[in-house]
Amino acid sequence: MPLFAPLSTVIWLPIIAGVLVLFTGSDRNAVLARWMALAGSIAGLLVALPLWTGFDRTEADMQFEEFHRWIETFNINYHLGIDGISLLLILLNCLTTVLVVIAGWKVIQARVSQYMASFLILSGMMNGVFSALDAALFYVFFEATLIPMFVIIGVWGGPNRVYAALKFFLYTLLGSLLTLVALIYLYNASGGSFSLLDYYVLPIPLTAQILIFVALFAAFAVKVPMWPVHTWLPDAHVEAPTGGSVVLAAIMLKLGAYGFIRLSLPIVPDASQHLAPFVIALSLIAVVYIGLVALVQADMKKLIAYSSIAHMGFVTLGIFIFNPHGLQGAVIQMVSHGFISGALFLCVGVLYDRLHSRQIADYGGVVNRMPVFAAFFMLFAMANAGLPGTSGFVGEFFVIMGTMSVNFWYTFAAATTLVFGAAYTLWMYKRVVFGAVANDKVAALSDIDRREFLVLGVLAIAVLCIGIYPKPLTDVLNVSVSTLLEQYAVTKL
């Protein structure tokens, strides 16, 4: 093993780097803060790479495990370990952090060190969520991520940022309080353990399972977000700075779906099975209802936010049909959505930085002035519409394939995304990018610079590579997915 404790490193290195960036202080040292943040984020990505190369794709157990006693009174341990699902999300997170730092390079001119530090610290915490095997540790990281994002929206956000930040914070906090209750119940039921791996083999009666499921669901459904607890997301996105939107859509939403996979399914399998139709119904409502709502949005960021909800509906659908295609599709959809929604928010950011408007109506004919940008935007729009050859297709394809073996009508509703997804994405694209130059402001636009090209270029390559050759991803996932489904299949009554 190349590093002594790779998981601790991917968690703590960005956090320490973030704290160091904070020490650069005021904006007189903004340049230093930026470069330090970039170095920190790149280092964070580099230390995550050994996880990919060293990951044993045939191993069913958790890998890179670390175990230290933490709070002995409550038997809480610093227990880390990952499977293929966590691995992909950690890599996605580390890469996104680098891009977000670069994207905020020029746009953020106030409190630069704090802005950059927030993202680095947030990145480390989310890696913590993805690698925690101790329920208390998971909960701490899960809740702690709220703070940097609350700050990011509240400080660098738009005019209505305080309302949005509070809504985001309270919505998600209220959901997760119930989780704590569930974890305390499990702690008692298991005779004083917070180990997730212990919970996996703990027999629980059905009523208790259902209560635990509901408690966990309250936290994770808000985070995903699932209909009808999704309304915090469009507000948060609209008010958040571009970088905040990117991380929110690309990584933070995945914490909820990851929670379903890591906690709900294996800990309370029977309740999951009992309540699956309910979750599936909500997922399909997300696909259809939200698809239609996205269509009428006048604000680009709101539209993409609604599109995120619809795409996350595919993720929860894939998880709760309990078969390999579905679950694997869900995870790939999470990764892919990370790249695509991140890229789309960056595209909107590129326009917003120039014109200071997110309204579709203020644009038109952008392609005449920004052809390179238009090409990137087209790629990401098509990926969002699930075009084969882009990553957007892979997840949707597997989820649709998996759903068909469960129910024809579920599949029917899910597949409407082919039409709705294309309709809202391309209609927006048409109104913003195509056409004759709409007004003087559009006429004065300049095409993307090298820095923007770099960020969008990296994402474009990722989107295409996954679309054309997703096998490296599925290789990492296969064993983890089947292990998880085996655990799920054993009743715990």
Binding site: F393, M404, F434
Partner: protein
Amino acid sequence: MNMMSVCLVAALAPLAGAITAGLFGRQIGRAGAHWVTIIGVALSMIASAIALRDVMDGNLFNGTVYTWATSGGMRFEIGFLIDELSATMMLVVTFVSLMVHIYTIGYMADDPGYQRFFSYISLFTFSMMMLVMSNNFLQLFFGWEAVGLVSYLLIGFWYTRPTAIYANLKAFLVNRVGDFGFILGIALVLVYFGSLDYGEVFALAPGKATERIGAEIGVQWPLITAICICLFIGAMGKSAQFPLHVWLPDSMEGPTPISALIHAATMVTAGIFMVARMSPLYELSETALSLILIIGAITALFMGLLGIVQNDIKRVVAYSTLSQLGYMTVALGASAYSVAIFHLMTHAFFKALLFLAAGSVIIGMHHDQDMRHMGGLRRRMPITWITSLIGSLALIGFPFFSGFYSKESIIEAVHLSKTPAAGLAWIAVTVGVFITALYSFRMYFLVFEGKPRFEVHGSSDAQHGDDAHAHHGPVDPHESPAVVWWPLVALAVPSIVVGAIAIGPLLFGGYFGDSLQVLSKHDVVGKIGEHFHGWLAMGLHGFATVPFWLAAAGVALAWYLYLRRPDIPAKIQSAVRPLYNLLDQKYYMDRFNDWFFAGGARSVGGGLWRFGDVGVIDGVLVNGSAKLVAWLAGVARKVQSGFVYHYAFMMIIGVFVLMTWWFLHL
């Protein structure tokens, strides 16, 4: 060279050209862009020819390129299946594509998006090759969507035109409706066959002929029928069959070369190809075949009727394409898959020819596409004129021309078919012959014969191909440059001869081998073969058939109405105003779709948003609970008034309540 290398060259050479021209267009310049893409497509055509020769020698090929993904113990692969069907399609696609590439040099000469255009059409060729060469449903869907993407990009090529960017969005969305059915079909195949590989699925198909989908997935349908209908919905989108045809006429907003390549010769025939490729499945479902017959018959007849009232030269050809696609679909429904592919092939040649000739006329007319402004062009554009005449004769099925052999075979096949609804389809395609002749020669007479209806421009220094803005001023039409007319000639040759040459081997010589499968009870082509005595006899006999006289009547009527007595059409028009309006408004389908589907989706979406999200969820639940908390806090604040007697009073009440409760429970 082994077959795999040949296949890779055939597929990837156009892709390499597209990438080079697309990403490095500025560096390699205009000439560089057309050379690199033309070389790519030419290599692809050579490779296709080699593949076809190998197949003729009996060397079929089925191989995997790479494993795309694995899931649940299944492998999803990218691979090639080269048999008679795919090799034929490959050659047709690359040949037409090459002609269109060359033609584009002339047609797009002054367009600022020259490199981009070449990049797109090469990308299209790559996508189409992936589609026809696929050996599995996954890659088929890849190609299927990729050609849709390129079609979208090319219809909207002139992106500043509002009509173009409306048309490309419409085309993509209507196609997506078809793809919606298509992906459900693919999912059913995966679930019930456990594989997406053609070979494995087709091998298992006969054993599942009577299987029903169980209640376990919520429906109880015959399996094969459900799969076939779902897949056919995809074909209806791509091959523009009623009622998903609405995108094709609007797609004429794109530059003419792509109307020829994508919206006539190749992409729109992908649905026909797909059904033929799935013949082992479709043979097992009479219900699906009947549906195909009905849809094809409606398309063939009613879309042809619309061609009669169009004045835009490209739109006439577009409606003719719809109608001819209907003919191919009818052939599929009659289990005459080889005839459908035969008509697909002849149609690819003569329809690409007609489109490119129309494009040549449009160049001559300085991008005025209205036929009412044309007339008498035969002397000014002799090569365009003669090739157009050849194309038109092929289209109406004049004996010995290529279209005659294929169309005659379709009519014959439907006539012999015992599949339900075949009788209806036979009437539609027979009447369709008259309609085809009428609109084709209406166009021919309006454009090439009679007196010029345009104002002649004095000088000859007019700008050619001027970025496609219509000019209505004086024009001076004359023959287009060699890069434009040369492909016309190259397409005119097969438009004449390919029918006579190919009909014997293709339909009756067992050419397609096992790539097309027909049950003996559906084998209408075999029955036609019993009366087939060579192309010469068939051609001569062609002068004595009902369709011939119907076509002749159509031509004669067109001649009388549009050349001899051009005053009559206007009178007819005002005499049957409602009928004319019905045709002019395309059966009001566009309006209905705009109002019902596009408007409906927006209204529902807006309603859900305002009422559901903003009203109930945010208004009542989220902000409501915030208000509730504030209200409760307000109540609680009142309780804590700070006056001692309030607290004392509350304490007494409390004690009283507690004591009551305690006594009651004693």
